[in-house]
Symmetry: C2
Subunit: 327 residues, 2 copies
């Protein structure tokens, strides 16, 4: 495998002084509702509000002094941007991030607050990768890809490693793990850690229905893309196809891919507010949405759900919650 | 002392299979802002959305079979109501709770959903204690007070015990602990645990400015009450005076009492949403508000902040967040 458990353990060591070891939360409410044991890994509580600092710091902390001195360039819908900017701040590396102009304001502002230079583009007409590569060439900067790099995959995989460690501390072994999936860095890295430590666990990727490239790719065995007219409120999960390296891993390790509608995601965000007291962004709620919508059998099983991020604008959050009180 | 560390350890054992051992969260953002080490104890993530299940279960699990068979009666602004109802559900004890009619809808509805019978009264004209005592006499039911009982104090004190255990696991010793205060069950019980394990730690109660009965009581050495015209958005912290038993403990163990304005509380709730990704109710945000408003020196100190609850209606939450995006 291109990423091994040892790579993830090394990443865990690198990020240990920086990233938060987010808790693995029990939810007796969910246990009762679903007739099984549910554990939640809330990466919304992570530094920068999503898991992305894990991979960004793992990659950037391994740059040579010369590379670090030239700064880095990244492209991101928002969470990777904040992870890269925060890692840059911690490591003293200048960061420039190409972001879609319709990214949540909170994500753009936080990236800037963390010291990142932001370059905005049109998500539906521009090509962020081309813009970022040109900028990197101009500045002789290293690129920090958002998922297609083994150090990124290993860093995000520390989520899966912690899930296995923390469930073991509770005397539990996960039967299934639900993980939101954009380019597949988080899900592939976590799958390596989880399947290395418990080969019977089944990992389900969760995507928005209109961005089900991973489901189709896993079925066909070839990386598939999403149609240009696809839309979803899950701004963190809109990547065009599974990453090349993540997909190599996914083909070997993943169970059935799942898809959720935007309405199922909204329901999950409302459940997060009312029952879990967590602020969850749309993309971060995808795996919880799949759980609540009954996409997997939970009875008498230990199900782990990764809540991958919480960076949502107050206005959108309020609009989604409003359906609770004004119909 | 009327409650000792051993009582709290026994309570911790009783509730261990039921309550969530909420994490003690680091917040690198807060550390940097405040120049010290900040640890957050988010009891909004607790079963029923506040710490109250701890005390309620500790008391109710010790009732005799005869007492349990007659059901219990409680009065509560909402969080204790849910704790009592949930404990009743877990222990098979019928529960009736006297609640103010202007309590947050979420608190009333959740109490009912958890199986509690709710009896509503007018907070500013009725006397909830009289109503509850009459009902209890009629039904031969035991009362479950919200703070004035040693089993309640010991149960809530498990928050303080966990703070000491979890900070020790991180290699830290709290210099100061900020705890929201209504009747004083949480703060007095936690103070017993904390001061028993680290006598140098300073415990600060935090109250709404118009409900500063604890500050005045600690200063005068006598329990003081709040004027009837006092108002605050912190619905969980509107008790008329410190409880008799909590105050005995508080007089011996508490540092200076702190007070926060409703606007400081709103700011803390916005910080919780944007930076911590936690849903915090007004009363639950009081200690965080004191921290953010600079009411204590944090530089080079280890400061623990208890976030005591997260049961807030979606409408109010949205209105408070709105100030962020529409001025």
């Amino acid at each position: 495998m291109i990423v091994e458990l040892a790579d993830i353990e090394a990443a865990a060591e690198r990020i240990s002084q920086v990233a938060i070891r987010t808790p693995l939360l029990r939810s007796p409410d969910l246990d009762e509702m679903l007739g099984g044991q549910v554990l939640l890994k809330p990466e919304c509580l992570q530094l920068t509000g999503s898991f992305k600092i894990r991979g960004a710091y793992n990659l950037m902390s391994q740059l040579s002094d010369a590379e670090a001195a030239s700064g880095v360039v990244a492209w991101s819908s928002g969470n990777h941007a904040q992870g890269v900017a925060a890692a840059g701040g911690l490591l003293g590396i200048k960061t420039a991030i190409v972001m879609p102009q319709d990214a949540p304001q909170a994500k753009i502002q936080n990236t800037q607050r963390l010291g990142g230079e932001t370059i905005l583009y049109d998500r539906y007409t521009g090509d962020r990768e081309v813009i970022a590569r040109e900028l990197a060439a101009e500045r002789h900067s290293a690129l920090v890809p958002s998922y297609d790099h083994i150090d990124i995959i290993a860093g995000q995989g520390t989520v899966g490693l912690e899930i296995m460690q923390q469930s073991a501390e509770m005397g539990l072994v996960p039967d299934q793990v639900l993980i939101s999936c954009g380019g597949g860095g988080l899900s592939s890295g976590s799958a390596v850690a989880i399947k290395s430590l418990s080969s019977d666990a089944i990992i389900h990727t969760v995507e928005p229905v209109e961005f089900d490239d991973t489901i189709r790719s896993l079925t066909s065995g070839q990386r598939q893309t999403n149609p240009p007219e696809a839309r979803s409120i899950c701004d963190a999960l809109l990547s065009p196809s599974p990453g090349k390296l993540p997909f190599e891993i996914m083909l070997e390790l993943m169970g059935e891919g799942l898809a959720v509608t935007d309405d199922e995601v909204r329901d999950a965000m409302r459940f997060g507010f009312a029952n879990l007291k967590l602020v969850i962004e749309p993309g971060g709620a995808a795996a919880l949405a799949a759980l609540l919508a009954g996409k997997v059998e939970t009875r008498n099983r230990v199900t782990v759900v990764v809540i991958s991020g919480g960076n949502v604008d107050a206005r959108m959050f309020a609009e989604i919650q409003r359906a609770q009180y004004s119909g």
